[in-house]
Symmetry: D2
Amino acid sequence: MIITIQCSDQIGLVADISRILSEHRLNIVSMREHVDKIERMFFMRLDVDGSAAEAELTNRLETVLPIEAVVHVNPSPNKRIVVMVTKEYHCLADILIRNNFGTLGASVVAVIGNHDVLEKICNRFDIPFYLITYDEEKAGSEDKIIELIKSYNPDFVILAKFMRILSSLFVANFKNKIINIHHSFLPAFAGANPYRQAFERGVKLIGATAHFVTDDLDEGPIIAQQIVPVNHSFTAQSMVKSGKEIETAVLAKAMDLVLTDRVFVYKNKTVVFE
Amino acid sequence: MIITIQCSDQIGLVADISRILSEHRLNIVSMREHVDKIERMFFMRLDVDGSAAEAELTNRLETVLPIEAVVHVNPSPNKRIVVMVTKEYHCLADILIRNNFGTLGASVVAVIGNHDVLEKICNRFDIPFYLITYDEEKAGSEDKIIELIKSYNPDFVILAKFMRILSSLFVANFKNKIINIHHSFLPAFAGANPYRQAFERGVKLIGATAHFVTDDLDEGPIIAQQIVPVNHSFTAQSMVKSGKEIETAVLAKAMDLVLTDRVFVYKNKTVVFE
Amino acid sequence: MIITIQCSDQIGLVADISRILSEHRLNIVSMREHVDKIERMFFMRLDVDGSAAEAELTNRLETVLPIEAVVHVNPSPNKRIVVMVTKEYHCLADILIRNNFGTLGASVVAVIGNHDVLEKICNRFDIPFYLITYDEEKAGSEDKIIELIKSYNPDFVILAKFMRILSSLFVANFKNKIINIHHSFLPAFAGANPYRQAFERGVKLIGATAHFVTDDLDEGPIIAQQIVPVNHSFTAQSMVKSGKEIETAVLAKAMDLVLTDRVFVYKNKTVVFE
Amino acid sequence: MIITIQCSDQIGLVADISRILSEHRLNIVSMREHVDKIERMFFMRLDVDGSAAEAELTNRLETVLPIEAVVHVNPSPNKRIVVMVTKEYHCLADILIRNNFGTLGASVVAVIGNHDVLEKICNRFDIPFYLITYDEEKAGSEDKIIELIKSYNPDFVILAKFMRILSSLFVANFKNKIINIHHSFLPAFAGANPYRQAFERGVKLIGATAHFVTDDLDEGPIIAQQIVPVNHSFTAQSMVKSGKEIETAVLAKAMDLVLTDRVFVYKNKTVVFE
């Protein structure tokens, strides 16, 4: 069983939590705990051996925790995700492959594209693809997408190279549930054309950043980042090619972390118990 | 305060430990816990805010732990190390620099060499250097070294490119206290001339391994490993040059981990709470 | 245009080669040259701007090179590969995806499996899959596979987690054309169950090696290697999971290098002009 | 012998250059060549076996190259560097150690500090240390430093954590000769307090950048960059600690590249033949 707890910090939390686990005859195999001393926030992830009624254990834990505590006992084991894409295939294909072979840690329930380029690969994997272009006004398109996503009730919305900026309204509908892959090691090269920017600046490394989406473009809480070395022999185009490899890897990593309940969000940061 | 605990696993350990900390009004800032389910061993490192009488807290913790438990409350904050060297300067110099500026996390109390090449650099830093050659029979030389080391009562003996094989007797005198840097990513290229072996095999990466020394040569518990890429343009000599950089870095990393009480040894493995 | 040359070394080779290119009004955009001084071997890869009749240019270059020189002008731009698999999907799926979107740098013309587990994913991508079990004697199965591969006349045979050992006869049929992904950073953990070996040894990094297949198991010329850090919290099973990511990445890297004519094989080594 | 050439690109350069080398009976062991097709610039580094009169060979090469070509035959084998520091020891100490053991690839001829903190470590290594505070007006202090540096006639000036911004006048005196280590993976976190910025942004990697100094602060041509992973458990202070390791490594790497004549500067970029 996995248990996650996020609340304000106070003395005795670990003692109270572990006493309750002990009373339920649950053995703690692995425990990760972090206190942000500045924000006075407490984060814990437990991997325990044994079995217990989930609802009862949750209630019991809540009795000893601060009122605003967020407790998850065995957080949704069958998570559902909706993927949003534009034209680039690499992240989507990686997700579809893992989904197909049951190693994603979630089920892809739908793919939404604002272009039809990736419809065929979805068909190959028997995953429903919805084309919602931005031909009409943006608000109307977004309303359709929001409605569609809600109909699938996903745990997370993955922006797998979705190249449109989402409105505040959209983001508010899926708070801390939208994960984006950005093609630079943020905050370097925020905004458009990061590889072009990187090429012109002559950097020796490029990267990718997976982050939760907030109102502030490219400013949401970072989940994972990686880089890959480049040199003078790279053109902006070959940087794009190398970048796609790292984008795929970073998004896969971030999804694995989130889907195994290792990521906690607060303010504009994350705690990640790798 | 740092607290480390190593013992056999049983249900309720975390509850008991954290209750005692809570009774002492100690707040757990960071907790790392691991259970080896195969060996049924429990490892914990706690970083707590607050103050308590160390001996009293240790005793109190021992009352709730299995009899063989090893508990350290604020494990020796002023650790002492003896460094053993042969002719290569890179690891020793890195240690002397950190020691000089107070960032090593320990004090270098003596350097022992079986050659005099590195005497001068020790002099520059006002660190006693002892030359003990292996001119006479090995056992005699080792006896002198053991006696000399014991006179300094160090927490750890660092083999910073000491190129002689130590006897079982020597190792037995400093169980789990001798740290060696080996110039390959073990178990690849164990034994002599790993860079020559790597060159001849045409590998695309070379590395270094820091490990505790046991009776079995190059087989002790591994603390840290890193690699660096190489290619066809490397000679065996330039592999040595690159390798020295990584040797220095890996030994520094391993020492930092050990000296901040993040490394637990059991059987032929380590638990490292980075 | 890409030009590759491999021959014994002698003074004036670069002058002669570049003079001929200059006579053909070809501008050298990027040149990589390496001489193995021990073996007295010369390797060159040129990326040139301009156009020339390939056969004529090849002949012209051969007039100034040692008799045994291997010259390729625009080496087969439409390379063909056959993939051999057993049960694990990760490397094959990555190859099929790149093949499907035209970014592999080659065409997958057939997949051969000794189990039928991966037939369906091949069907999804309209790639012919052939099941050749080893139910009968090994030699007979291999004969069938050799015949089948030859019928496709591929440039390379990719062992994408093909878990049977190939005979000398098989290897001799496709000299320097068979690429294998081995699930360890060779020479560490050669042989069977490398992740189990790695777990038991308590290493802090695991890796993967892509290499050409020769008669000596796990001893062929290495093309690419990468590692990924692990720690005490990994089981042998989670090492396998992490290992698969790196296996996929290393094989993809090696194939990209080979398919863009950056890899030269000689003796038991490679020259790789990244 | 090492030969470096930088000039505008034209057809036949390699043929002409290699013909001259061949006439001098020089064998090309390793050749690196790059053409920036956008800027139409040609860069070449040759490692050749054999001997030749340097001045005569240089003249001979210049006869076939464009008028503005910069040719170096065996570029100053005994390079001299002046190091500028403030209070942090890590980069300076690494340089002093390598200098002391003859592995720096240059000689440290003087150290200049605007604080006296690092005087003692220079004394330990018998390297002259000059204290030039900025107590008086900045221009006056800089004039003194310029004069002092010029008296040593160094090949390069290394800013090893020198924490004052240099004026345009200063920079103009040592064009493409000043190398700085910046404590972030530029362009992320340019300006002051990059680790504080990194902490507040919640990034998962921090880095360092070695670059030539130009008039535009933190905007000069980048030589080398590396990163190190961080996570939620890092404070701004522990990021500084980790950052220092990577700063030291990146500056050492950049110096090694520059001092072995592998770095070419043009516009705001570098070509680095690693």
